[in-house]
């Protein structure tokens, strides 16, 4: 499998503190990688260097073999979906306008935008005729994140970056959205980096799990083997999540 996203010895320093301290990570095309870690471990920063929201002080980030430092960031970002906990829907735009934003920036013809918006809203379980014209403030938290997912997937991105997208939702809505999300991603085969501090969620959405602690990768393993790793930081995560009882 070819490598789509590549971080090589990436270092990010803020206020004289190393947020990322030499992180290397390779993500194959079509692969889903979950990044876990405690608050402040650097996991969010690790995905923000992929779309250039954060510029690293040292190291290389490559997307599809091309270095970000030498890329047109605006064009590159339109190929990358971004889903965050706060959702960040444009409050002055309707659901359909939010979802159709990147296709519009990409200059798709109106008819193609309209059909893409309709089909993706349908896929995330929002009846297009009922939801398309509504404004974000009239939606529930779960509905808003459905729109957030639809917005990220509408332009058929090469890569999907997710930063705790379900962190603020109640457990039932959360489970529904996780299932929907995993199904949609598998169907489309979209490459994904998914940040979460919840190990159960990481194991559910990821083919591979990467643990970042204090700005370094301390574990990187197949999701099925992760809970049996011997690394002490992994053990603490597994024990705290109550997932490793049988080992």
């Amino acid at each position: 499998m070819s490598c789509l996203v590549e971080l090589i010895d990436v270092r990010v320093v803020r206020d004289e503190r190393a947020i990322l301290d030499g992180v290397s990570l390779r993500v194959a095309r079509g692969e889903a990688v979950a990044i876990i870690g405690r608050s402040g471990a650097g996991k969010t920063t690790a995905i923000k260097v992929v779309n250039g929201i954060v510029a690293p002080e040292a190291g290389t980030v490559r997307l599809d073999g091309q270095s970000l430092a030498a890329s047109d960031l605006v064009a590159l970002r339109r190929r990358i979906g971004y889903v965050v906990q706060g959702v960040g829907l444009f409050p002055h735009r309707t659901v359909a306008e939010n979802v159709g934003m990147v296709p519009r920036l990409l200059g798709w013809p109106q008819a193609r935008i309209a059909s893409a918006v309709e089909s993706i809203l349908d896929s995330v379980g929002l009846e297009p005729a009922h939801y398309g014209g509504r404004y974000p403030h009239s939606l529930s938290g779960g509905e808003q994140q459905r729109v957030g997912i639809a917005r990220a997937l509408a332009p058929e991105p090469d890569v999907l970056l997710c930063d705790e997208p379900f962190g603020a939702l109640d457990p039932i809505v959360r489970r529904d959205l996780q299932e929907l999300f995993v199904r949609l991603r598998r169907e489309r085969g979209t490459t994904m980096l998914f940040v979460t501090h919840d190990l159960a969620e990481a194991l559910f959405v990821g083919d591979r799990v990467v643990l970042i602690d204090a700005g370094r990768v301390v574990a990187d393993s197949d999701a099925r083997e992760f809970t049996s790793l011997a690394d002490p930081i992994v053990r603490r995560f597994v024990d705290a999540s109550g997932l490793g009882g049988e080992q």
Binding site: R77, V84, V87, G88, L89, F90, P91, H92, A168
Partner: protein, 212 residues
């Protein structure tokens, strides 16, 4: 009240509206781009806000006086009055533009950048529409205070309702004073009400919290 006098009040009210409308429009043309620049570069923001703040502390009578001897902008007449009114209208519009843009939810802004908006698209598609209700508050304050301030314009031959007020002061005639100040107060109320309505329309869907 005779017909000629009523016509004069109407004519002066018209002049008054023109003075304020022209000066607030010019101030908005200066203050909104300046406010955008302030949010982009701190090196512009701090000095610009200081200078505009300082202008506001000059007593209005004195400012009109200072402008008269100046070339190009000065002299006697409506032009000088408009320059002074523009200077006073800058502060509220500049402040609310900066506040409005800075007040845009950082998550919304970040998502805009992350989806590949250019800085210009981010400004036009996201920041300005979301800051619009705040900017309108500045325009409303500038308009309402401008209607009051513009009465002083008569002192330097700028016309407007101040003409009646100054005549009333000189002749100790309460009727003239009221003929100048009541229409001015009425204009201020109408402007306040009208612009508030536009503000409410603009902020109807957006201003409510979009978060969970």
């Amino acid at each position: 009240m005779n017909r000629a006098f009523a016509l004069e009040i109407a004519r002066l009210s018209g002049e008054h509206v023109v003075l304020v409308a022209v000066s607030v429009a010019l101030a908005a043309l200066i203050a909104i781009p300046l406010g955008i620049a302030c949010t982009r570069r701190e090196a512009i923001g701090r000095p610009a806000l200081r200078i505009v703040d300082a202008i506001q502390t000059i007593p209005s009578l004195a400012l009109f006086g200072f402008l008269i001897p100046l070339p190009f902008v000065g002299g006697i007449g409506a032009k000088t009055a408009i320059v002074a009114l523009v200077l006073y209208a800058l502060l509220p519009i500049l402040r609310t533009t900066v506040t409005g843009i800075r007040g845009v939810d950082s998550v919304v802004r970040e998502v805009g950048v992350a989806m590949g908006m250019t800085p210009r698209q981010l400004l036009v598609e996201v920041e300005l529409p979301l800051a619009a209700p705040s900017i309108l508050v500045g325009i409303r304050i500038a308009t309402v205070t401008g209607i009051g301030l513009a009465t002083i314009a008569a002192l330097i031959g700028g016309g407007g309702l101040g003409t009646l007020i100054f005549r009333g002061v000189a002749m100790v005639d309460a009727r003239l004073l009221l003929a100048g100040s009541l229409p001015a107060a009425l204009l201020a109320l109408i402007a306040d009400f009208g612009i508030s309505r536009v503000e409410r329309r603009l902020s109807a869907p957006p201003s409510r919290d979009t978060r969970v």
